[in-house]
Structures are given as structure tokens and as C-alpha cells.
Amino acid sequence: MYKLRATILKDIRILFRDKVGLIFMFGMPIILAVVITALQNSTFELVNDNKVPLLLCNRDTGEAGKQLVTAIEKVGLFNMKQVIGNKTEKEISDRMHAKDALIAIIIPANFSADMNVKAKNISGKALNELGLETDSINTNKETIESITLMYHPVLQESFRQSIKGALRSALQLVATKQILKALYFSLNEKQLPPDLEQEIVSNEIGINEIPISRDGSRNIPNSTQHNIPAWTIFAMFFVVISLGSSVVKEKVTGSFVRLKTLPTNYMVALLSKQITYLIVTLAQAAVIFSIGIWLFPTLGLPALNLPSDLGGLFLVSLITGWCAVSFAICIGVFSNTLEQANGIGAVSIVLLAAIGGLLVPSFAMPASFQVLLRLSPLHWCLEAFYGLFLEGGKLKDILINILPLFAITVIFQLIALAGLKTKNLI
């Protein structure tokens, strides 16, 4: 026991003198967590609260064009700047390049006229179907010239799609109004009263969003709840830089040679490293969670809500830490130089994070990756943390994630032992 205590003390002393390693293990993940959460949060706000700058060029002078402008305004997504109708696409494009707007919509000059014709045609067809006579069908004009949507290339596809969806809703609303008016006029020989028009087109049915949870709570997940677990796992696995280097250094500086001549099994050294770095990983988790709880709100970011099952959270953190430590020892055992340990360690963590769904959500991955991600320990860590943080689950709910993680950890341990044996180090 005294040997183990002395070894842990030695490892802690070395760790505290490795300033770069400490920065990697604590500083970098904290910076990542703050920056990524802030960025993601502002993206959410861009969609939900902030307005996307939009240039609107209405070349149409009719009623439908005005209605479309009003409908687009009411979508609530845009900070609309109207430009006069005689602006060319080139001029609008130049303003967009100057970052005056990310989106531009051009309503064609004959939009209202075309819309009226189409509305009359549809109402005419409807009346015909009802057996009523009408002379309003104009078979020559069935199509409406397209609305032009110009976008800045920085806008991502998914965001463009949501803007297109919003624009389609606005167009649908205008079209519906026009058809209603035409139909009403055909039947009653007078204009549709505005209050009736409003009553018909307004959508009174709300959408009730409910995030599912195991504990029945209806806390709405935010960017902090998503990011803190992910970056905590990332940070814990980044001990590979410090621990992997520590194992390699021990080998290349000859300490191993002396240790092998001493009457103590090298397993004591391995056990000590695991205990020391397990404490480090738990400290990392505690620091990052604390930052999420107390620092984030002061930065204007959503606060982290800890799961109700704190015992489960501790166990998941413990096994995640153990897996990270085991992986780091593996890297250290099989690397021959510090450069190898650092390079392979860092790249492999980023790869495992990418495969494991930390960088791209696993549900958005192609089918082949859905199989591959099960091999990444970071995937099981993330699923277990999300089970607690996002789904409000208890330990029993995340056992299905903990068991594969435990199995992968044991495999890492066995590989490290085999490596030590093969290299004649134990």
C-alpha cells in the first residue's frame, strides 16, 4: 500500500509540473465548451430570436405583391429592408456581398396579375364542380412567374430550406386569400369583407411542443445541456495527451529500465496512473459542470441543469474517466516517441468523437456510420450522459449504454497489458 501511495504521489507531482498538459486537460475543454455553446446558442437565437437580414425587391405594384410582403414580414424570421423595384439582380447581389443581407427576395412585376388570373381560374373550376356557371376561366394563363430567392453562400442548406419553407407559407397564404376573394366575388358579386377574410385565413390551431423526458419534467433542452456533456467527454479523453506522454516518457527516459530491476511489480505503476488520472478526469467533469451551472448564466448563456440522479451521473463520469484513462495507457504503451503519443492520441480522439456523434449528431449520420459509431467509446459516453441530462433518465435507464462502455474499457485494459507483455515491459 505504501508503494502505491508513493507512486500516486510521484504521478501527481509530475502532473502538476506538466503545465502544458494541465492546460490541455482543463483549459482547452473549458474554452471549447464556452465558445461552442455560445456559438450554438447564438445560432439558435438567430433562428428563434434574432432576425435574418433580408432585402426585398417588390417589382409588383398590385395587391398580391403587397400581401406577400406583409406575409413575409409576419413570418418573423426576417429583418426586412425593402429596396425599390427597379434594382437589378446585380445591384442586389452587390449589396449582399457587402453583407447588407444574407437573403434577397424579388417579387416579379406581374405577380399580382398572374395571381389574380390563377385565383379566378381556380375559383371558376371550383364553381364548375359545384354545377354553377362561370365565365372566369382563362385557360391561357395557368402558371405564375417564380419568386426569386437569392442567398449568400455562407447560409447552410438546412437554414436555406427553413427560409424556403417560410416563404412558401407566405405564398400559400397570399394564394389562399386571392382564391377566397375570387370565389366570394363570383358567388356574391361583392368584395370579401376584411374581418371574414381574416377569420378564414388565420390559423388558430397552435402547436404544443413537448420535449420527451423519462422523469416527466418538461425542461426545454438548450445548447448548454447539449454541449456540456459532449465537451466534458472530449476533455476527459484528452488526458491521452498527458497520460500517453507520461507512459512514453517513462519508457524513453530509462525509468522503466530501473523500475524493472526493483522488487515491485509494474502493475503498481499502472494502477497508480489509473487512479491519478481518474481523479483528474473526475475533476475535469466537476470543473466543466460547475462552469455550466455558475459561469454560463453570467455570460448570457443558458445554465446547466444537473440531472436528478446524481449517483448515476457520478457513475457515468467514473466509467467515462476510466475508459479515457485506459485508452490513454494503450496509446502510451504502443507509442515509441512523445510525438507519436501526442499525434496519434489527439487525432484518434477527434476521430472517435466524430464517429461517436460528438461533432455531428449520430441520427444525421449515414447508415454505414450508424454501425461504426457503436465502436466509439465516446458514443456510449455521450448516450449515457444525454440519457441523464436531456432525457431525465435514471441509472437503470442508461445501463444499456454503460455496459458496452465498460466492455470497451476492459478491452483497452487487456490490449495495454498485452502490449506491455509483448514489449517485455512487464
Binding site: Y2, A6, L9, K10, I14, T253, V257, R258, L262, P263
Partner: protein, 252 residues
């Protein structure tokens, strides 16, 4: 009959993946209390033999006993000896005290014994003023002293020394050699290898010359000098091993 500190019998060894054996049927005895020097050209097998004796290399043929205990598969035999490798084998980030605390524990000492031995070694090896400074800031000579201190912290009965003074100044060499003689007077058997033949003459009473994996001479240094009519170890060395370079044999 004198107690044997080291008894090697019929040793055979070859590195994995090579067909040429380093040793075949090698026998060697070192009496307890000796200051024994093992010399030979580069590639002769000195370091390999020392690594076999300290258990760093495992061999399949023959046996090596340290004070009648077989080196293979016996942890207790490791308590008998200390090892001072040619490379600095300690943690450079740590101070001499931290290194001695750790290696003392691994050598089987308890806290109080480590404290006492650390104080003694820092004093005798003149490291007291830098006891708490990280070793990476030390000169080569000071690092050699730390390397030696770690090897002797548990007061071993047998001490293996591989080039213990390489790269140090005259003063440091003097301190180290005097300390080794003192250890020997207190009962520690020394097994020493070096290319510093003047130093070896000063330290060793018994020597063995090894060449191409064979012991070609083994006796008291004085006897060998008389027998081969040489007045120094360097002349004896050239006389027995020839003048040819043998460095290519160092590549395993």
C-alpha cells in the same frame, strides 16, 4: 570457500530474431565483497551480460544466481541488488528528494528509512543544496550523483554499475569513486563496467575481460598484469583483445 555474489553457469543467450548467440556456455563467478570490473571492446557483450544479471533480459539456457538466489522469477532476489544504468534512469521533472522517495518505496523501504537514507545520500554526494530542485535543471555530474543515489538507497548487497561516471568532471568522478569504495568497505559487492580504464584500475581489484561473448581473462587485476607483463589495464586490454575495431558487433 568464499560466498559467491554472482554465479553464472553455462549461460546462453541470443536476441530474439537473431541467430548468432551473444553467449554460449558462459561461466563466471564474482566473490562477495569484490570490486569486480567487466571490460571488453564495444559489442563484446558487457551490457548484455549485465542486463542478464539484473533480470532485464530473460535467457533460456543456463542459470544466474545472486547470493544463491536464481535471478529468474524471484522478486525477492531484486531486493539484494541495486542498479546504476548508464542512462539517467529517473524522473527529470522531480527533485532528488522526490525521486529518492519514490524509488526508495519501490525498493522496499518504508517512509522512515527512506527519509534517513535520503538525508545521508544528499550529504555524502553533496546534493543538499539542490535537494528540492527539479533534476532537469542539474548539470551532467549532478545527474550522475542522483542516478547513483537512487541505485544505492536500499543499501544493496550487490551493486551493478554501468559507466557510472561517464561525462562527469574530475571532482565529481572523485566523489563517486570514493563513495563506491566506501560502500564496498561496508560490504557491498561492486560489479562495474566502463571504458574509463584509469578509473577502473583505481576502483577494481578483480577484473574479467570479455570478447565476442567469451570470458578471455578473469583474475585479480594484479595477477593479470604480472602474468601478461603489462603495467596498466589499457595495455592488458589491447594485449588480450587486439587492436581491431569491433563496433559493428554493437548492432543487435
Amino acid at each position: 570457500m568464499a560466498t559467491q555474489a554472482v554465479s553464472i553457469s553455462n549461460l546462453g543467450f541470443h536476441y530474439p530474431g537473431t541467430s548468432k548467440p551473444v553467449f554460449q556456455h558462459l561461466d563466471l563467478n564474482v566473490a562477495a565483497g569484490d570490486r569486480f570490473g567487466l571490460f571488453g571492446p564495444n559489442g563484446a557483450g558487457k551490457t548484455t551480460l549485465m542486463n542478464c544479471m539484473t533480470g532485464l533480459l530473460s535467457f533460456k539456457e543456463g542459470s544466474i544466481h545472486l547470493f544463491d538466489k536464481e535471478i529468474r522469477n524471484q522478486r525477492s532476489v531484486k531486493e539484494l541488488f541495486g542498479f546504476v544504468p548508464q542512462d539517467f534512469s529517473f524522473y527529470h521533472e522531480l527533485s532528488p528528494v522526490d525521486n529518492l522517495s519514490f524509488f526508495g518505496a519501490w525498493s522496499g523501504l518504508k517512509k522512515a528509512a527512506i527519509k534517513q537514507r535520503t538525508e545521508e545520500l544528499l550529504e555524502v554526494l553533496d546534493l543538499k543544496e539542490v535537494y528540492n530542485k527539479p533534476v532537469h535543471k542539474f548539470s551532467g555530474g549532478m545527474k550522475r550523483k542522483v542516478n547513483l543515489a537512487i541505485g544505492v538507497i536500499h543499501q544493496p548487497k550487490l551493486l551493478f554499475l554501468d559507466e557510472p561516471t561517464v561525462g562527469v568532471d574530475v571532482q565529481t568522478r572523485h566523489v563517486i569513486i570514493e563513495y563506491l569504495k566506501k560502500l564496498n568497505r561496508n560490504g557491498t559487492t561492486l560489479i562495474y563496467t566502463s571504458h574509463q580504464l584509469n578509473e577502473a584500475e583505481e576502483l577494481c581489484n578483480t577484473i574479467a575481460l570479455i570478447d565476442e561473448g567469451r570470458i578471455i581473462a578473469h583474475d585479480l587485476l594484479t595477477n593479470l598484469l604480472v602474468e601478461h607483463k603489462e603495467d596498466g589495464l589499457e595495455g592488458l586490454f589491447i594485449n588480450l583483445t587486439g587492436k581491431k575495431y569491433n563496433d559493428a558487433g554493437c548492432i543487435n
